[in-house]
């Protein structure tokens, strides 16, 4: 299912949990792993100088410097690399989301695992473009992306217990195809979940319970017609519709199901000008979930 994984990392603690997942996954699935690091953001106008994202120092980048950074990464992941048969390392320079996407275009991975960023994305070097690196990669990525935010989320057992969260959008259909494929090929469980958004901003002041019940029934119907009907003789599934704040509900649901992976669609076309501060539903889930989250957009 995943033959080639692109792991975009800061090569610091901020990416440690993502690294755990990435190496684990590559190991268990026998995939090749391309460890990719954007070492600096261009600064100083037209010159070749970049701001090293780790040290916050300006460095002049040349081939030598890049190899040195690659060596550093090798040392940083020395333990994991010892057990990784098909791992390669690449460092590059540029605006992070763009370089990750560029690398993805080049090697055509089946999955991108996104590590955390060092420091705050509030830094003006990142402000140049709207939205967080995660949002930007998620928006344009040619393949699904996996993100892990909480360290706890990375101590993960397997890939067999999947929660698929849907909002019935077109992108969600894609996410479903992906989730279903994953569940069947890995012989796992699939929990289909929809959260009815009853936050006042979405539904007017407050919804009468009758209406909520009605909507829940409709959602079940949707799940049946949209997804269950396509699952043929796959039996290892469940479905649920809860009401509440979507990202909270899906996190609660995942905990209850003791799932080890959430799959959902990345819907928001518009990037958040305020970046990670508010963030999309998906980012909220990533921030709170106890397991890795895969976002699918096409």
């Amino acid at each position: 299912m995943f033959k080639k994984i692109l792991f975009a990392t800061s090569a610091t603690e901020a990416s440690d949990h993502a690294a755990r997942v990435a190496f684990n996954m590559a190991g268990t699935l026998g995939a090749t792993l391309n460890i990719f690091h954007v070492l600096g953001v261009p600064t100083r106008g037209f010159s070749q100088v970049v701001l090293d994202v780790k040290t916050k120092e300006e460095v002049a980048v040349d081939g030598e410097y890049i190899s040195w950074v690659e060596e550093e990464i090798k040392n940083y992941y020395a333990n994991q690399l010892a057990n990784c048969a098909n791992c390669s390392i690449k460092a590059s320079v540029g605006v992070p989301h763009r370089e990750i996407l560029r690398q993805a275009r080049e090697i055509e991975p089946d999955l991108i695992v996104l590590g955390g960023t060092t420091g705050s994305e509030e830094d003006s070097v990142y402000k140049a473009s709207t939205g967080s690196t995660l949002q930007r990669v998620a928006k344009a990525s040619p393949c699904p992306i996996l993100a892990v935010n909480r360290p706890a989320a990375s101590f993960w057992g397997g890939l067999s217990n999947i929660v698929f969260g849907t909002d019935f959008s077109k992108a969600s259909d894609k996410a479903f195809e992906f989730a279903f494929k994953m569940a069947t090929s890995l012989n796992g469980e699939l929990h289909i979940f929809h959260a009815l958004d009853i936050t006042p901003k979405n539904m007017g002041m407050s919804m009468p319970q009758d209406e909520i019940d009605h909507k829940i029934r409709e959602a079940y119907k949707m799940i049946r017609s949209k997804y269950i009907s396509k699952m043929k003789d796959f039996k290892n599934y469940s479905m649920n519709v809860w009401e509440g704040i979507p990202y909270v509900e899906i996190v609660k649901y995942t905990r209850e199901k003791q799932a080890d992976l959430i799959i959902m669609a990345h819907n928001s076309r518009k990037l958040d000008a305020d970046g990670p501060k508010i963030g999309s539903n998906m980012e909220q889930v990533i921030m709170r979930a106890n397991c890795p989250v895969i976002s699918v957009n096409r």
Partner: protein, 462 residues
């Protein structure tokens, strides 16, 4: 030791030389060698005799030493009114001396002149409009840079920059293939959202040939996507060119006139090959200056005009909005205090002073626009012009130079600064990094894309 390995009088001609020079991190060795570099005084003096004609000679001679230009120079103002920053002093003590001494100057003098030409003047030409005699010190510094470049006294980054143009015909190592590839990639990335989005390559007789700044290709390809989206939404018959797509010229900042000529002729050749009705260049100030304003002269065109009509991106955008080719959703207009950075390179130096304001009248909610003071052709340089932004050696001086713009912006109370110029954009970005005054900055393209009202057939299916 006269000629160094890196620091010498020979321009960069090949990729190997370029890589080697780039390998000299921060130009450490380069600047060391510069201290030993000999001056070819004979060559210097013959060059002056051949190229320093009545305009500059008269300027040097009749300068009344009145000091009226002092206050016009932002570098004088931010450096605590240091008399050594008075434009007239800066040029008299450098170019003036060289001419007076008939080229007999020493190494130390040349290094001083280099620092003055690149760290004490951005060639913003503001002083020229405040001098009663009409003495444009910025022009003279441009000339001086040419002399210094000839003698090998040029900041490391600019020797590289000029070399890039000589080797790649672009300011960065971006090849023709990479350019087209990147543009296509950007279109692919956005075609779902904008059905029908394409990037026509090398189409003859199009209405518009679009040229860019290599940095967009290298680091900010979103800019290419946005350009494609806007042309598409406006229903333009446009094309890019696989050769001659780079509009900028670091060679101009470096004073490498031969490279300027090569670079601009490459773009003109594309115009002659594709015969577009017009060329539209991206949101860049010095690119416009290089290709549209100065370029014709480097290319030896006596009418002072490029082969086809060339307009700046803001001219196209204003026209598209005016004629209703692009429609703005009034709900999404800018509703925060916003100001505009007038770029010297096409406002003071090409008279495009009202165009950006017209655009803002369409995209800013009435009541939110704040003028900087001074503005239009009297605006101050952003602080990073003329190559200043990119020179590591003069970084501290550059950072100080940003103070004028910082204070101008603060005085407007704006939260967003619109800078339709790569250099100004960079400087304002750096200014935020340096002083953290809590502003945002943007080109026009992303703003307009975000508030576009698309015709139905262009909306994504949902």
């Amino acid at each position: 030791m006269p000629e160094g390995i890196f620091c010498n009088k020979k321009p960069i001609e090949t990729q190997e030389e370029l890589t080697a020079l780039l390998g000299d991190t921060s130009g450490t060795q380069y600047y060391k060698e510069m201290k030993e570099l000999d001056i070819d005084t004979k060559l210097l003096w013959t060059t002056i005799q051949n190229t320093c004609k009545s305009r500059i000679r008269t300027w040097l001679e009749i300068c009344a030493h009145c000091g009226m230009c002092a206050d016009s120079c932002f570098l004088y103002l931010v450096n605590d009114r240091d008399p050594k920053q008075v434009p007239a002093y800066k040029i008299q003590s450098t170019l003036g001396e060289i001419v007076k001494r008939k080229g007999n100057v020493d190494n130390e003098f040349m290094r001083m002149a280099m620092e003055t030409a690149w760290a004490k003047c951005t060639c913003c030409n503001r002083c020229g409009i405040y001098c009663p005699h009409g003495i444009d010190v910025g022009i003279m510094f441009g000339y001086l840079r040419g002399l210094l470049y000839q003698q090998g006294f040029v900041p490391w980054e600019l020797k590289i920059g000029a070399g890039m143009h000589r080797v790649y015909r672009a300011q960065m190592d971006v090849s023709e293939e990479e350019f087209v590839e990147t543009f296509q990639w950007m279109v692919e990335e956005n075609e779902e959202e904008y059905p029908g989005l394409t990037v026509p390559v090398d189409v003859e007789n199009a209405d518009i040939m679009y040229t860019v700044n290599a940095r967009e290709v290298k680091h900010y390809p979103e800019d290419l996507a946005e350009a494609a989206i806007l042309f598409h939404a406006a229903g333009e018959n446009w094309t890019i060119t696989s050769k001659g797509w780079e509009q900028t010229s670091l060679a101009m900042f470096a004073g490498d006139w031969a490279a300027c000529k090569m670079q601009v002729e490459n773009v003109y050749a594309a115009m002659e090959r594709l015969k577009p009705k017009r060329m539209v260049g991206t949101e860049c100030g010095h690119a416009h200056r290089a290709t549209v304003v100065e370029g014709p002269y480097w290319a030896g065109r006596q009418d002072g005009r490029p082969p086809v009509e060339c307009i700046h991106y803001i001219e196209w955008l204003a026209e598209a909005l005016r004629e209703g080719k692009l429609k703005i959703d009034p709900e999404r207009r800018i509703k925060v205090p916003v100001t505009l950075q007038d770029s010297c390179n096409y406002v003071r130096n090409h008279g495009l002073r009202e165009v950006a304001r017209e655009i803002l009248s369409y995209i800013v909610e009435p009541g939110y626009y704040r003028e900087m003071s001074p503005n239009r052709e009297h605006n101050f340089c952003c602080g990073g012009g003329g190559g200043f932004n990119g020179i590591g050696l003069f970084r501290p001086q550059r950072n100080k130079g940003l103070i004028t713009k910082r204070d101008q912006i603060l005085a407007t109370g704006a939260e967003l600064v619109i800078a339709p110029c790569h250099n100004c954009w960079d400087a304002i970005r750096d200014l935020e990094e340096e002083f953290e005054i809590g502003i945002k900055w943007s080109f026009l393209k992303p703003l307009v894309v975000s508030m576009l009202e698309l015709p139905d057939h262009m909306k994504p299916e949902e």
